[in-house]
Amino acid sequence: MTAVAAKPRAAERLRTFKRKHPVFRLVVVRLLIGVLTLWLVSVVIFAATQALPGNAAYAVLGRSATPARLHAYEVQLHLNRPVIDQYGSWIGGVLHGRFGTSLANGESVSALIGPRLVNSAVLVALSGVISVLVAVILGILTAAKRDTWFDHTASALALAVIALPEFVVAIALVILFAVLVLHALPAVSQIPPGGYPWQYPNELILPVATLVIVIGPYAFRITRGAMIDALESDHVEMARLKGLSSRRVLFVHAFPSAIPPVIQVVGLSLLYLAGGIVVVEYVFNYPGVGAALVDAVSNRDIPTIQFLVLALATFYVVVNIGTDVIALLASPRRRAPQ
């Protein structure tokens, strides 16, 4: 048999991969379910905001609205057309990147939200990276030093903090570092329009610290649990019996088995942040999408609400699929072709 004949062509290899590899099928199925979920999510958002019994224009403008204003509003939201048409033109616009016009100031929703999206992304990325790093390191250390006072203190603290609402943590930090005890940091993060958050590091400290305190404990508890499981497994016992150094056992033999749960932790933290930024941005007046959502809900600015909720839900679904797929790839037992 010659070497050339034994080597299948690339296309052929890909076909075999598709057929034989369960991961490929799982990923495709997950993606399809994701698209279906997002479509249904868009229907729910639309139904809740625009197609409810009763007229949305009336609900928004209130009883005092003049007929002329009501009519103008109905035309703007296309409320005078059949519901299916309304949904079609909304979702069609979204798919083409046209998100409508804000009712609050007549600007386009994308112009209003664009810069805020950058601000929120910075907040989410910084908080996510810091909390996951701290939590994973603490999780590994406490698992290695299980049942010492260090482990007990860290676990008890995590259990306490895990239950606190974001705004309680935020207000406590404001009291401690901005208003009453120390006056070291700004209590509100006013980043001027056109400015970028990284140009104002002081304004970022308290919002990021709040989010790290709120999501860190989840990540910590799960990492610690996964590491304890890993340390109790047979192959780690084997490595220990071989006389390897405890550091090598911990990082080279035990930690890899804890990676899939840790990936779930990263995903979980990101998901939590999607909701967490709403309150935290509001408390610190941080100009991001969370604060924008609170404003939009106060003003009943329906196009902006629709866009922001859809964007946050899309983020949720994408992170969910991403974590599932990466966790799948990181666990060799499930990755192997059957």
Binding site: V41, A160, I175, R224, L271, V278, I305, T323
Partner: protein, 298 residues
């Protein structure tokens, strides 16, 4: 053990652990304060009494808020609605999730897939964002708050219960009663439900804590319990502009909410440990409970 009293014995076992005892005492104290508070409040919680943001004095031990209302009376009157709505939405949400979870697991097939797709859709919304969506259009009413919070519990509970119910319905005794010709409704309520006891108790605790978090956050954002009513979350937001003048209107509600949620979570943790006979905290239940992880991934 008599099944119908199983939950009492589970709670008792949890309360006997050190962690459980601390959690229960702390939670009980705050709940008691919230319940008897409205009856012992010295002044009206909604009528102005004195100067705005007055510092503590004899008649007003915690001073006054931004429009001169007595902070102590508002603190005493400001917990029962939060706790009441949280408790009601927890019962409703966990009840609905329980029904959906058992039904999906036992029926299987197309019913199961369809229910789980609906659950997926609801899980795609961050809970707070979902509540904001409902409040934004339908208005700010206590009953809407209750429904919004209940709906955000349901999908998570349904997922956890479904997973547990799948385990139970594969067991021999379920097969046995099915062979006896027991109608499926009886199998679900009489055989599967009692075996989900510990799952349901843990969910109730987790969901109650979460409901308090969510409702307090919504009130803080001014979309929950509405002024002029007294409410801890609302008070924190109303009084934070006066933080340097009279901090008590912020400090006391912050501490009460913190103590309440920490106590509840600690007690729930004790229930989970007692029910699983676990030596260490059930972290993996955290993961499953959040609904993003299927059991298979763990």
């Amino acid at each position: 053990m008599n099944v119908s009293w199983g939950w009492v014995s589970l709670l008792a076992r949890a309360a006997r652990t050190r962690r459980g005892a601390i959690g229960l005492t702390v939670t009980g104290a705050v709940v008691l304060l919230a319940i008897i508070g409205p009856f012992i409040a010295p002044h009206s919680p909604t009528v102005s009494q004195t100067a705005p943001f007055a510092p503590p004095s004899g008649a007003y031990p915690l001073g006054s808020d931004g429009i001169g209302r007595d902070v102590l009376s508002r603190v005493l009157a400001g917990g029962w609605l939060l706790l009441g709505v949280a408790a009601a939405s927890t019962l409703l949400g966990v009840g609905a999730g329980l029904l959906i979870g058992i039904f999906a697991a036992y029926r299987g097939g197309i019913v199961d897939s369809m229910l789980m797709r609906i659950v997926d859709v609801l899980l795609a919304f961050p809970p707070l964002v979902f509540a904001l969506l409902i409040v934004s259009v339908l208005g700010r009413h206590v009953w809407l708050l209750l429904i919004a919070v209940s709906i955000s519990h349901t999908p998570q509970v349904a997922r956890v219960v479904r997973a547990a119910a799948l385990d139970v319905s594969a067991r021999d005794f379920v097969r046995a009663v099915e062979l006896l010709g027991t109608p499926s409704r009886r199998v679900m309520t009489g055989e599967i439900l009692p075996n989900l006891l510990s799952v349901v108790m843990v969910e109730l605790g987790l969901r109650f804590t979460f409901a308090i978090l969510l409702i307090a956050s919504l009130s803080f954002l001014s979309f929950g319990i509405q002024p002029p009513a007294a409410d801890w979350g609302l008070m924190i937001n109303e009084n934070r502009i006066g933080l340097t003048v009279n901090p008590w209107g912020v400090l006391v509600p912050v501490v009460l909410i913190a103590v309440l949620t920490i106590g509840l979570n600690t007690f729930t943790d004790a229930i989970a440990r007692a029910s699983l006979g676990l030596e260490r905290p059930p972290e993996q239940m955290d993961l499953v409970a959040t609904g993003i992880v299927s059991e298979a991934t763990l």
